[in-house]
Amino acid sequence: MDKALGDKIPEFNKKKSGGGDGVGLSGASLGLGDHRTKFEILIIILVAVVIIGGSEFLLKWFGVPQYVLPTPSQIVTALFTEWKFIWPHLLVTLYELLVGFAIGASIGFVLAAVITQFPFVEKIVTPYILLLVTTPMLALVPLLILKLGFGSEPRIIAVALASGPMVMINSATGFRRVDLAKIALARSFGASTFQIFTKIRIPMAMPMIIVGLMVGSIFGLLTTVGAEMVGGAEGLGNRLTYYSALIRMPQFFAVILILAIIGISIYVLFYWIGKKWASWEA
């Protein structure tokens, strides 16, 4: 017998129970907003052109020195000329982010799935997870470096610690939204507890899981870059401190441009995943 169903006869035509206290973006803000018309997209592009062109023009017009603020064209030029020196660092950052996120997200997901099955355990554990969510894991990096050296390990751990709890707390919100009617339905067709988990609970929780993955990976990116700035000689974060120390501002902004592109790619990736796997809830 599935524990959640027990003796209960679900109340139909009522909204599913639980949920609502996840940290992070709400399900609705997962999207890139409502559908945009061609006209609106045109305006968005136009604004970008005005900002980029305008700053290019103004910086040149007022003769702002490169070391104060480089022009967009200088930044893009630096990106191309410096690329051969930057891309190994990009790989390091991506590696740390991916490995740290994969570890953190898997642990967070499994923990959420297991813990929500035991309300008592969940009540005990949740405050600690919240503590992990709210404490900036960057603070641990100096300590981790002290213990583990200047390699990738301390940063991977920091990323896992930053993204895991985010994934966990949002997934748990998803898993808590039990719909007893759906569970009863599956059971009436002879579903096992495991089948109920894979065919009902996970799909039901999917929108919140995806939100957790999105927020978690963005948190992971922040932590990766921050941890690289704290210590070590590799990664895009390290390049930021490096270029700013040498006052090589076009290169500095080129790195920021790369980080922005990574961040947006993560967002777009999860937006599409959400569209594919969680659009039923919209």
Binding site: M1, I9, K182, A184, R187, F189, G190, W280
Partner: protein, 276 residues
Amino acid sequence: MMDATHMRKAAGASDKRSTKMLVERATKYYQTRTGSVHALDNVSLEVRDGEFLCILGPSGCGKSTLLWSMGGLHDLTDGEIRLGPEKITKPHPEIAMIFQDANLLPWRNLAANIALPFELKRKPVDQERIDALLKRVDLWGFESKFPRELSGGMQQRASIVRSLSVNPSLLLMDEPFGALDAFTRDEMNLLIQEIWMETGKTIVFVTHSISEAIFLADRVAVMSARPGRIARIFDIDIPRPRPVDIQTRPDFIERVLHIKASIDHGRKPHVGLAIT
């Protein structure tokens, strides 16, 4: 198929049939924080093979508790339920439930929703049977639609297809049309009568509507509340197929009033009637 229909009509509603399911002295207490609720008290009920049995009663009288126990979804505190020689303690492949509101999975399209029972039973999908059923309930061509794109009536028709797709011999329906508007409800009642006549399945149908019960049933088991008991059983020998407008005929209304009176009997006169 038609042979079964004719045989059924020839046999008549009150004909003696073998027992499909037997509920014996079913008693159920729910344990709650504020004490225990006595939901079923010594309920004994015979479901005959191939009959259309309606369980009628006001909200909260224990209809769902009884039906869900018959489906093996709940445990009883005392008594037992048997399907033939088998004791029902968990869901049984011969039994399918149909729930109030269609209870389709919103993340699956119609085809995937209907395939769910096969997936859960790890059996190949019987597409031929499903297609025939979809055509029968006028859902052919809607397989790629998602539940939110369908009307309430269409959703409930899909859930009927889902239940029938695995060919159960006993259908348990818990106020399946309670959330539908009156017109759709009439349509659905006609449809379920036709399906019952064509397939020869045994149907136990829970409702709180007296006229729905009389329209559909061979027998109406009226339940009384607190604790839930079977108060009386009425034979409904109206010939089939029964058209919808039968409900406005004097003899039909006569039956409604008769059952209503039997429910009112024993109540304090000023207590309003929860049944419509």
